[in-house]
């Protein structure tokens, strides 16, 4: 999130699109409600069905799964055409005025530089996705925003294709409903008004998921809703600590603090550092990288040995989730650790996760209950005698049973203490990893291939690893060996260490570490600066220079984040800019993480193109109305032919998947909890009364739901909360399903993810869980 949960209370209009705040993040509705009670805020819900969030919304608009970009592009066009955008903000804080290479263009679904590749896909040469520069390499700009090659005019041209009628035909949202949403949300383009967009996996889990997020960012920038109280691009993370997992480099393509994973191409540290951005705050990256290496290898890391850069594994090829499973199927991956993850239920095409696990020599699963991944060998229909994989199940402690931190979606790193001892032999993840590492190190001490990275690793957390010691290593130390204040004190000469630069400061002293603070704010705008620690440097709203106008006057004087009083900056938050200089000096450079120092309405960083474009999901009932390219032209196709054809008569219905309040993720925590099973006992799918009439079922009947890949059997709920949508003039039905169930636990049921295709986003590889095609029929 750019902002944080409590800041919802400062919003004037909240739009929940691709998320289901009330059901999946129920506590946060407290702050939505506060905004409504105290500010008269309005809540908009855009969703394929009337959810529990929609139930309490002021305005509900239906949308066809997989068409977020068309919807958001429609809003962007509406704001541009009707002059509802925040002009001063756009001119000063974004790259709207920058001039783009005249060779840049967009034609029939493809941006310039495309080249045909395998499986009907494309690759891009991004040469034309660049700015015009002067002799010194400085980007040329037109502050009148009139030049046809300036970002603003290109944007207007690109988005003019998303008129209300077209958007309605693609998304299935009736034109009048769309206009209502557009008028209400774009009302926050007025200076002083705050519009907030809440989203989750209903935006991201598509082959075009990243561009969906980018569409939200573009809309929010146009309306001046980034960096202000009550605004923001707010991803509601689906797990309590998934933000922390990303921050600590758990994804395959990054190390800690969102530094890119070193790759084969980086022969040494200098080679890696050569990829450091040339401007903006990321120019400090070498300091963060060296400090990370020092945290990991301590005295062994010296300038002479490149700070042990060679010890890091280098990314050789795609190591994303779907790729790894493909390698597993091909016999390349021999063993797997699965910590608190249950791909046999939660992964795309989940039955294949169970199938491919048979190829492993060994599998280690650590979880609080025996999950489907650990039990794949005894799934219904399997013969354990024919499966050679050796499976180890490690009993894990629950979050209440261990000490450590949880980083919430608002980037707050909150310390948690152990509430009770773990049951039986269950142990904390830290205990398990500590013992495992020590055993591995002992084995390598006797020799092995390239033992140095294991033997030289700093691992001084005590006999039974102490979470506080780990926290201090992550926070980092200065040259004197004292805890470092924050990342501004880090150096690239090996004198400092820091496990994850963005966390630096969260535990910078032992007596009163910020992460353990619990002081509620009594006055202010809800920053609660002395309640835990938000990365970076306890900043609660990022890009907060944008909360004030170029002269430093807050757009909304009632909710000032930072303001210039004529002599100095006053603050309700930690400034995201140089606050020691007058406002004029930072008025054009509020986005310090971007090399342009401005927000990028146009960017070459994305795989699909500088502007988001609507492409249909991999499986779609209709041809793409926007152009000849049916689906994301640069998505990697792992399983050619594994999808139903466009407009398939065999699989005529749109399918989507989602969650319930009563259960959580793959259900392992909740399906073993009798009270929750009582509150939601069984797997079911949801359909509209019209589809129910067509296939002859009523609520409670059994149905078979089938995709190109698999079929499942479960009960059906017939509900008016789902309606067919008019897409390109034709009524299209939607089948909605929950993905919480599997064959283990106290409540067993079919796994919806068996039906999902293994295809992902071109930037992140996140799988397309939220839109595919299916058939549904009555059983018996």
């Amino acid at each position: 999130m750019t902002n944080h949960w409590i800041d919802y209370k400062n919003s004037d209009v909240i739009m929940n699109i691709g998320g289901n705040t009330a059901e999946n993040h129920p506590i946060s509705m407290k702050w939505v409600q506060k905004a409504r009670d105290e500010r008269g805020a309005k809540l908009i819900v855009v969703d394929p069905r009337v959810t529990r969030t929609a139930a309490v919304a002021d305005l509900y608009a239906p949308i066809r799964p997989g068409t977020n970009i068309a919807f958001l592009s429609g809003l962007i066009n509406y704001a541009l055409e009707k002059d509802l955008y925040h002009k001063e903000y756009v001119l000063n804080y974004t790259n709207a005025a920058s001039l783009v290479n005249p060779g840049f263009g967009f034609n029939d679904g493809l941006f310039t530089g495309s080249k045909a590749a395998e499986h009907g896909q494309y690759t891009y040469d991004k040469a034309t996705w660049a700015f015009q520069t002067d002799a010194e390499g400085k980007t040329l700009k037109d502050p009148t925003l009139q030049d046809p090659n300036c970002v603003f005019q290109l944007m207007k041209k690109h988005y003019s294709r998303y008129d209300v009628k077209t958007v309605s035909e693609i998304t299935g949202c009736p034109e009048d409903k769309f206009r209502e949403v557009a008028d209400l949300f774009c009302s926050t383009g007025k200076p002083g008004k705050a519009g907030n967009i809440l989203y989750a996996m209903g935006i991201t889990q598509f082959t075009h998921g990243s561009q969906g997020v980018r569409s939200i960012a573009l809309l929010q920038l146009l309306l001046g809703n980034v960096g202000i109280a009550g605004g923001g691009v707010n991803a509601q993370r689906g797990q309590s600590n998934v933000q922390g997992a990303c921050d600590m480099g758990q994804l395959y393509h990054i190390v800690t603090g969102y530094m890119p994973m070193p790759a084969d191409a980086h022969k040494d540290l200098a080679g890696y550092n050569a990829t450091t951005p040339k401007a903006g705050y990321w120019t400090n990256r070498p300091k963060f990288m060296v400090s990370m290496l020092k945290a990991w290898y301590g005295d062994k890391a010296t300038a002479d040995n490149d700070f042990c850069f060679d010890y890091l594994p280098k990314l050789d090829k795609d190591r994303s989730h779907m790729a790894m499973y493909k390698y597993m199927a091909q016999g390349e991956v021999k063993g797997m650790f699965c910590f608190a993850d249950n791909p046999a239920v939660g992964g795309p095409t989940a039955f294949r996760k169970r199938e491919y696990a048979k190829k492993l020599d060994w599998l280690v699963v650590s979880d609080i209950f025996e999950n489907e991944t650990a039990a794949f060998w005894k799934a219904p229909g399997e013969n354990p005698e024919e499966i050679d994989t050796e499976v180890f199940l490690l009993p894990a402690a629950l979050h209440f049973e261990k000490e450590g931190t949880i980083t919430n979606s608002g980037r707050w790193i909150q310390w948690r203490y152990k509430a009770q001892e773990a049951l039986g032999d269950s142990k904390s993840d830290l205990w398990i990893v500590d013992k495992l590492f020590k055993a591995v190190r002992k084995a390598y001490a006797a020799g092995g291939k390239f033992p140095a990275p294991i033997l030289d690793m700093v691992w001084d957390y005590g006999d039974d690893a102490d979470a506080v010691k780990v926290a201090m290593e992550i926070n980092g130390y200065d040259a004197s060996g004292a805890l470092v204040e924050n990342f501004t004190k880090l150096a690239d000469d090996g004198s400092t260490s820091c496990g994850s630069w963005i966390y630096s400061g969260f535990y910078n002293n032992e007596s009163d570490p910020a992460s353990k603070r619990r002081e509620k704010e009594t006055e202010g705008i809800g920053s609660n600066a002395r309640w835990s620690f938000a990365w970076p440097v306890n900043r609660r709203i990022v890009y907060n220079r944008c909360s004030a106008d170029p002269e430093g006057k807050p757009w909304n004087p009632d909710l000032p984040v930072l303001w210039w009083d004529g002599k100095e900056w006053k603050r309700n938050d930690v400034p995201d800019f140089n606050a020691t200089v007058p406002p004029a000096d930072t008025a054009k450079t509020p986005f310090i993480m971007s090399p342009e120092l401005q927000a990028r309405l146009f960017s070459s960083a994305m795989a699909e193109g500088p502007f988001p474009e609507h492409y249909e999901p991999w499986e779609s009932p209709v041809a793409n109305k926007m152009g000849k390219v049916q689906f994301n032209p640069v998505s990697k196709v792992w399983y050619p032919g594994d999808n139903a054809e466009v407009g398939s008569s065999e699989f005529p219905y749109i399918a989507t998947s989602y969650r319930l309040t009563e259960h959580y993720q793959s259900g392992i925590m909740t399906r073993n909890m009798p009270w929750l099973n009582e509150a939601m006992p069984e797997m079911f799918v949801e359909i509209s009364p019209s589809l129910a009439g067509k296939i002859g079922v009523k609520s409670g009947d059994k149905v078979v739901v089938e995709s190109k890949r698999a079929q499942i059997e479960c009960k059906v709920a017939v509900t008016p909360r789902l309606k067919s949508l008019k897409v390109n003039g034709e009524e299209k039905e939607i089948v909605g399903m929950f993905f919480h169930w599997g064959f283990m636990g106290l409540s067993k049921g079919a796994s919806a993810n068996d039906l999902i295709p293994s295809i992902g986003d071109a930037n992140t590889t996140i799988p397309e869980f939220k839109a595919f095609l299916c058939n549904i029929r009555r059983v018996g």
Partner: protein, 261 residues
């Protein structure tokens, strides 16, 4: 202590069932195996080990689909029919307004269930079970478990006067913002309930009786049915049988209440 009112503002409820599960947790009530009922509502009814639950209702109007949630539990009536009919005086109303059953005295006859206008009491193991308004928590200055768990403030507990004023203000607000059918429920019904609802639509749309009544036929039935019990009870408890014991009990209770205040 002044009488408490539990305020249920359905316009703020998101149907998360936190109240339902928290009630089970605090009171350590085991789960009842349930089956998919065709909607999100589960369990389908109150049981001896389910004292509160959320009702789910959905309606498709011409332009809008309505998805209604309402917390449902004992209404803690100001003049409880259950208390009046109980032949063994197992049911009492304390100074907080909580209608409570003394399980040591209760004989599980079910008369309370028969006369309750909201069909709340449940009999199991020859005893009656229902919501206690968390009187142990409330008398110690805490909110009820359901109110504590509620993320949006849809359930709250407070002094009767304050809560009723709050409800009235909220209804006015809702009417202003377009909920023409918004209303208060429980303020006047049966002389005032211990649970007051802010509704955005007619009570029956939320699964609440539009005009709750204590059925005289039910009372008469139970009076006759309980004849022998009554005799035994009165013989055992006091010298001299009294006629019209129902009225007498009412009078006794009134006096008991006065004595406490």
């Amino acid at each position: 202590m002044t009488t408490k009112v539990r305020l249920i503002d359905v316009s703020k409820c998101v149907g998360c069932k936190g109240c339902q599960v928290s009630c089970k947790n605090w009171n350590q009530l085991p789960a009842t195996p349930t089956e998919f009922s065709g909607s999100y509502e589960s369990p389908p009814d109150l049981f001896p080990n389910t004292w509160s639950r959320v009702k789910f209702n959905e309606y498709a109007d011409s332009d809008k689909v309505k998805f209604y949630f309402s917390f449902f539990s004992c209404m803690h009536c100001s003049d409880p029919a259950c208390l009046n009919i109980c032949p063994v005086k197992a049911i009492s109303k304390d100074s907080l307004g909580s209608v409570k059953v003394d399980l040591g005295v209760c004989i599980g006859c079910g008369a309370c269930k028969g006369v309750c206008p909201f069909n709340v009491p449940r009999i199991g193991n020859n005893k009656m079970f229902k919501c206690t308004l968390c009187s142990a928590r409330v008398s110690n200055g805490m909110a009820s478990a359901c109110a504590t768990a509620c993320p949006t403030g849809a359930i709250s507990l407070g002094d009767a006067d304050e809560k009723i004023a709050e409800a009235e203000a909220r209804v006015a607000e809702l009417k202003k913002s377009g909920f023409a059918n918004a209303r208060i429920y429980g303020k006047d019904e049966l002389g005032g309930l211990g649970v007051v609802y802010v509704l955005t639509d007619a009570p029956d749309k939320y699964g609440l009786p539009a005009e709750p009544k204590v059925s005289l036929a039910d009372v008469y039935f139970w009076k006759v049915a309980l004849g022998p019990v009554k005799t035994l009870a009165t013989v055992g408890l006091a010298a001299g049988a009294l006629s019209g014991w129902l009225q007498m009990r009412k009078e006794e209770i009134r006096k008991e209440q006065e004595g406490k205040e």
